[in-house]
Symmetry: C2
Subunit: 493 residues, 2 copies
Amino acid sequence: MSYSDTPLEKIDNILQQAQVAFLSYKNFSGKKKGAFLRAVADEIEALDRQLIETAMRETNLPEARIVTERARTTGHCRMFAEVVEEGSWVEARIDTAIPDRMPVPKPDIRKMLVPIGPVVVFGAANFPLAYSTAGGDTAAALAAGCPVIVKAHPAHPETSTLVAGAIFKAMQKTGMPQGTFQHVYGSSFAVGQELVKHPLTKAVGFTGSLAGGKALFDIACRRPEPIPVFAEMSSINPVILLPETLKRDAEVIATRMAGSITLGVGQFCTNPGLMIALEGEGLDQFIQHLAKAIEETLPGAMLHAGIAENYHSKLKRALEQKGVKVEAASRSEGSAIEGRPLVASVPADEFLKNPTLAEEVFGPFSLIVRCSSWDVFNRTINNLHGQLTATIQGDAAEIKKHPSLLNMLMEKAGRLIINGVPTGVEVCPAMMHGGPYPATTDSRFTAVGRDAMKRFARPVAFQNFPDELLPDELKEGNPLNIWRMRNNQWGKH
Amino acid sequence: MSYSDTPLEKIDNILQQAQVAFLSYKNFSGKKKGAFLRAVADEIEALDRQLIETAMRETNLPEARIVTERARTTGHCRMFAEVVEEGSWVEARIDTAIPDRMPVPKPDIRKMLVPIGPVVVFGAANFPLAYSTAGGDTAAALAAGCPVIVKAHPAHPETSTLVAGAIFKAMQKTGMPQGTFQHVYGSSFAVGQELVKHPLTKAVGFTGSLAGGKALFDIACRRPEPIPVFAEMSSINPVILLPETLKRDAEVIATRMAGSITLGVGQFCTNPGLMIALEGEGLDQFIQHLAKAIEETLPGAMLHAGIAENYHSKLKRALEQKGVKVEAASRSEGSAIEGRPLVASVPADEFLKNPTLAEEVFGPFSLIVRCSSWDVFNRTINNLHGQLTATIQGDAAEIKKHPSLLNMLMEKAGRLIINGVPTGVEVCPAMMHGGPYPATTDSRFTAVGRDAMKRFARPVAFQNFPDELLPDELKEGNPLNIWRMRNNQWGKH
């Protein structure tokens, strides 16, 4: 099947339709929006084997992974359904009037979050389901009350079309207005550009490369009306290896890290691409165990030829840099479409001088930075760019010996992990998937978990409104029984 | 006294100091930050007459207004103190581990808001106290845990210096690190530009003109690491006059509007610069009453010569546009430094064709758009730019006859008011002071009220942390007794 780019002259019509849909969709109750999101999950499940097989064929991902990813996708649709059905996400604030206040009366003011408007979502290459057509950005925007236009990722257009079909069915079954969800194709940059430039577009979700995300961000900033772009782009997810813990648990930590580095052929935005350690016995033992695990891990087929080529060329370039030494590689070289697990090391002094070594190598690769002193170790951490995650392998007693470590890492990353791995992003309220630039374009928002909805909402205050004209969320009697802050106090009042 | 611009070569040192302060200030308890903010309020009050008289001299504002504004400033310092002392503002989320979950164990993840880093604040011309040196942006950023660098507004440098002195005293008395607050001067654009460009600056607060705010926004977007700019810029605060209500209450509404248009010589960002009404008997009566009130209102001295000149030239330009007719003006013309109250009208057809008429005329001026039909009326509303506020003069029964009216206005403004005036921005949790572009650069955040802190904070997740290494806000025993979302449930648990 072939998918030709959506003609640019159709884009205006697509956004006009989204806007018409918006003006009614935004006012639907949380229950109605929830029913729609649940129907999306049901229809995706109804695609059954066809979806699994299509996604496997288009992405080279194994069945187990696609099945897990489908569960994650339907899971977040139902999670967002639950959030909007419950309703407290709107952060209702109520301040009642004080008519006899001096010198001026205090008016009644009530505030809640409302949807921002039509949202454009760019499907991700590495998550054909969970961060594509009905992915986290789409589900969060629909839950917030925004119509969504998805640009299918050109690497898996058939999978995207199947999921879009499921969403269209769900729209029909639950009475959503035409234009609530729309699906376009674009292998050229032009389609995406036009979508982001259109005056009716109010926000953008993107998962992909730094170059791609930054280009969309720049377009959005230069519009007559600038709009927010939530781009998740580039992270090497540093792992700090503390020497005493390393010495004691070298094998356990090596096994843990090897698993995380090679998981899914290293094709995760949270892949640990950098490890920072002090030279010494602990590090030597760790590398020995890590090398064994890496050597034994077979290369795997990558998502598509472009990603494999990119891995091979970026890896080659990294290994050519001054001071870089291969510590271990999979016994098998692998084919042109495969990614070969590989770990290298470099002295910290070289790493600090060479910005190329801080660039993401998307695939099963990690670089160990060897630090000759605590001073160099601290400088290495302080020089890191913004990251999605930062991990420490170290027990509490040893971490406490370095009181500035957590303080420094908190400035660098959106999620800190102790004695775990950065891969495996849990969908839960406490998740923060985002981080300082260039990990994402806006460190104040998460792309995973219920708070992801906040990207697509803005507060509106209602002053001196008769009760009957207020949205249900703000009515005096609290008919939706949601949590509200009333005169500075939290409660279901 | 003369205030020369801070030399550009000092700016790096200023930001370095702010960053050093940040790394300890951010970890101070809410109680300690609260004590600092309360001390700021106390020290401002201790300046007593010196501050009142200096501000009056520098701004031409009357004593009653300066006294009110001082109360507002000390009020928001104490309000933010209360918020951080109580502590729940960090939006703590806790998801406890499920070690036996299949197929993979669920880790313990906890999340809270942490401060974003050093913030640059530009003092406002029209609020020498409440939106300047210890203004809403400064107090919100300090409360969030961010060091602040204030650039004094060149129109009231002495007032700014006095308030800065009060903040320095408060820092000393409550043991805040040097660099927590810093004060610079800059009548040229260069100082502000360098501050916004500096890599250690993490966010910007600005209140002023569209040109000024947009220029800072553009600089911030083009940095190697883009940062958020919260600029409150331009709003004409449309007022919708519904015909039946107008006919019945013409005099009451005219008195209300005249008061709001001329309040503080029209020098408020929420000044109602536009009124939209259907032609007819109600409008004629309204204009008659309004004219009387406007004619009787005397011109007042404006903030400084530049603002007065700007008012006169912008007003002149507005009155020269096709179809614009003066409906009423103050009997007295006023001097060169004064702003003369004036109301004009224009047919909607001309208004729709002429973008000049939608530009803000900062001063005691308002333009009535005369609509010949409901269709023209709706088109006029739909064509509005983003606004801080939108007001309806109309009773519930009449508003309900126009079901799309509130729906349309919600897309245009951050705060909707019924039968009230947009001027007078209450400092309370439900306040939304912000709106779609060009009212502000980010419609998702308020500049007034406790939620203003959220502009300067970002979430960080802590995964698999030993309890002793968690911030107090996230510790298992909830030692701060704050509201938290624990396993999806709100409570003090």
